[in-house]
Amino acid sequence: MSEKLHAMSAAPGLTLSRLRAPRLGLCLLLLAYLLGSWTVARSGLDVQSLVLVAAIFGILAISLDLVAGMLGLYSLGQGGFFGIGAYLTAIAVNDLGASPFLLLPVVLVVSGAAGILIGAMSLRVSGLYFAITTFIFTLVLTVLATDLQITGGTQGLLGPSFPDLPEMLSFLGAPVAWCILLALLLIVALIWSLRRSPLYPVLLAIRDAEPFAEAAGVRTAALKIGVFGISAAMAGLAGWLFSFMGVVSPGQFDWSVSLNILVMLLVGGINTTLGPLLGAAFVSMFPAIVNINPWLQEIIYGALSICAITFFPAGVVGLILRRLQGARSAAHVESEAAPGTAAPPRVARDGAEIAIECRAVDFGYAVGPRVLRKVDLSVRRGHIHGLIGPNGSGKSTLANVIAGRLHPSSGEILMNGRSVHGVSPSGRARLGMRRTFQAAQLVRELSAGQNVSVGLHTQIPHLFRRAPVWPFLPSARADIASLNHRSAEALRAVDAGAWVDRHIADVPHGIEQLTQLAAVCVAAPDIIILDEPATGLSRREVDHLAEILSALKAEGVTMIIIEHQTRFLLPLCDQVTVLNAGEVIVTATADEVRAHPVVRQVYLGEQ
């Protein structure tokens, strides 16, 4: 089977060729959009308000897609941020006579800061509780808007009017229409670029495989809060735009609006560029198009949203994309020889002779017996250190404690002679410690190559600043080429080169293991922790894995390997530690361990 796969050549150039997508088509699309905007700006008020409200909801739906689609954070706070933007503008212009344009940065900062605050507060609770916290935020804002004097109660406030264009530009039509439609264009371009940047796999990794992202050095918490802040600022922008559309009142921002934005997103297609726009257009134009008894209309709306979510859970655009992808995956993408830059030389840390040291590490959960008891372990630089023991002996727990995912209840971990107490998993990864997981943690909807590239994200200069305009940057080409090249190389090095463009959802278990290993190796770390790397590999693949690990050792990499297949592990090891019931039984060379009477008894099963 493996031979056949080798026949298929690797194709690292998928992202690259997409980058060279016909610029002409893009320009034509842009021209069509501008012509459409011009038409809207010159058309009657009813058509104008229909399109413009849909466009504003389009921005809101995109702002939700940014957090829900890419990070898995289902925010019900978009209505709240939307309200902050609209009320802030209406109050400041009406009461203080501020200029709307000078207000825009204020609105972005205030709503963004609100988002960062809510994000930081609800980060300790994830998933459903994030949705609930943001829901309550919207609830409270609506109540405040209804009961406060300054917001005009249930009546609301009259929004400001948009400044007129100078006389000579009046042929352009209504300026507010241009403002809204150009803002939408800007937001769409922003998200479109983000999807094509190397930040996108990183965000999806946070969504689907957070431990993997952390182990690759991604500051997941900061990134989540930051992206949520940006999403909130976008919703604030939508509110700023909305205030020019007439009255600003509590009903326009209450929790059902937040939920409707989610309906738009899910109906149109989550995590797609066009889906949120289609959904927003459908939901906001629905009442105007289906002009019947308002109650009946609402009933139909409810029924349609249930049907949509039941029968097309990926949304309309998602459905179409899946069809297209099915057709495209048959055609194989040709390999492109990318002029990759060489991997940076491994940082030779000459300082400490001991790479990893555990001093009297204790760990226990709130209930049950302690999992680790006074574990002492020291791993010499450049050694392969085996960690064996029966199931439940605490091997993976020890790996998690060393990698920073679990905090020891007492004791100390030293990395290169320095205590890493309080350093997060991503911080330890940035210090040069990478790891794999027993159950592979990867993003199923990305290709193996993209998953590997997550491991490289720390090495792309100014990634966060560049991601929003990525495809427009000349320097991005070289970066993408080198990124793809190095990811493909890393996969080839672990003998999984043929799988570069396959989605992880479609690869066998062994390839997932190898992809994890490639994602670790690609970053050229100097300490690697492998948790059962040989699981699910064929005999031949295990032999190859042993060669890879020996090669890494020759480069001076320090490794801690947990493994049950002692026939594979022991010949590689300089030192082996045997754990049983959370205690170190012995640390010695492989031969001594094999001969050790207690080890033979507890691990190899001799009487």
Binding site: Y74, I136, S256, G302, A303
Partner: protein
């Protein structure tokens, strides 16, 4: 003082029942049924209609509760089960249960018209004097019914096999179904019970609010707050404590701050509580319990 405490407990008992209704369905399916308030409203509308058609109040109440239970079970089959079948951990139910709520509310408005209908007065005519405070019979009934239902629910959850099945499914649905639990049946029963609780809440406040298709919205939100304050997402009965706390706070705010204060005061409390203890006050492991353990180390050892 006594007056707002008593009437606060009475209205809080109703919030608590709705909160428990939300929590019971959440407990088994990990889904917040946004249609819970509308299910309560259906019970009120049916009871009001049956009573004005000349049926005896008890029969009218029975019909109302039956309707609520049926709608609740329907909501499971329409808005929850198909969604969870696709993706058990997704958030599609946010959309589908809201869609169901929209359908029920507008269907009721279409059917009965958007105006309020008279509701049987039940025990509202009786007034009981306790010192300086006055309590209507209906208020006393609310407190009694809520206490009995909460106690009964907790007893069933803890001591019967069916209740333990619910606990098992709440903890790990896949494991529970692997050892032979009929997760779908338990979920249906949980939704039926939640419909019953919501319906009873509706019958208890009906004499004061009358029956109106749009009541579900407000009371659904108050039930939600009760659940969140109490920590009903972890333990349904905690929602009852949350509801009573909410009721007392709202009535107290009206008496001590101003007559509009119950509109915003509970939300402020909710925010403060969730900042201090995101999992609610009475859920165990959260705020109240942690405080108790800190103050009384002996409790921890006993547990």
């Amino acid at each position: 003082m006594l007056q707002f405490l008593l009437s606060g407990v009475a209205i809080g008992a109703v919030y608590g029942l709705i909160g428990m209704a939300l929590a019971i369905s959440f407990y088994v399916t990990r889904v917040i049924n946004f249609a819970q308030g509308q299910i309560m409203m259906i019970a009120m509308m049916l009871t009001a209609t049956a009573a004005s058609a000349g049926l005896p109040p008890l029969v009218a109440v029975f019909l109302g509760l039956l309707g609520a239970v049926l709608i609740a079970v329907l909501s499971y089959y329409v808005a929850v089960k198909p969604i969870l079948a696709v993706n058990r951990l997704g958030f599609g139910w946010l959309v589908s249960t809201l869609g169901f709520a929209v359908i029920v509310e507008n269907a009721a408005a279409l059917l009965w018209g958007p105006t309020s209908r008279p509701f049987p007065q039940m025990l509202n005519g009786i007034s009981l004097h306790l010192g300086q405070a006055v309590l209507t019979g209906q208020q006393l009934l609310s407190i009694l019914v809520a206490v009995i239902l909460a106690g009964l629910f907790e007893a069933v959850r803890r001591y019967t096999l069916f209740g333990k099945l619910g606990v098992a499914i709440a903890a790990d649905p896949e494991m529970a179904s692997a050892v032979g639990a009929n997760t779908s049946l338990v979920a249906v029963v949980a939704f039926a019970i939640s419909g019953l609780f919501a319906g009873i809440a509706g019958i208890l406040i009906g004499p004061n609010t009358f029956a109106n298709p749009y009541l579900g919205h407000t009371y659904g939100i108050f039930g939600f707050i009760a659940m969140m304050i109490g920590g009903g997402t972890e333990k349904p009965v905690a929602a009852m404590f949350g509801g009573i706390l909410l009721g007392v706070l709202a009535e107290g705010a009206n008496t001590l701050i101003d007559s509009q204060a119950s509109d915003w005061f509970p939300f402020v409390v909710l925010v403060i509580i969730l900042i201090v203890s995101p999992r609610g006050l009475f859920s165990g492991g959260g705020g109240w319990d942690a405080l108790r353990r800190r103050l009384m180390p002996a409790v921890r050892d006993a547990a």
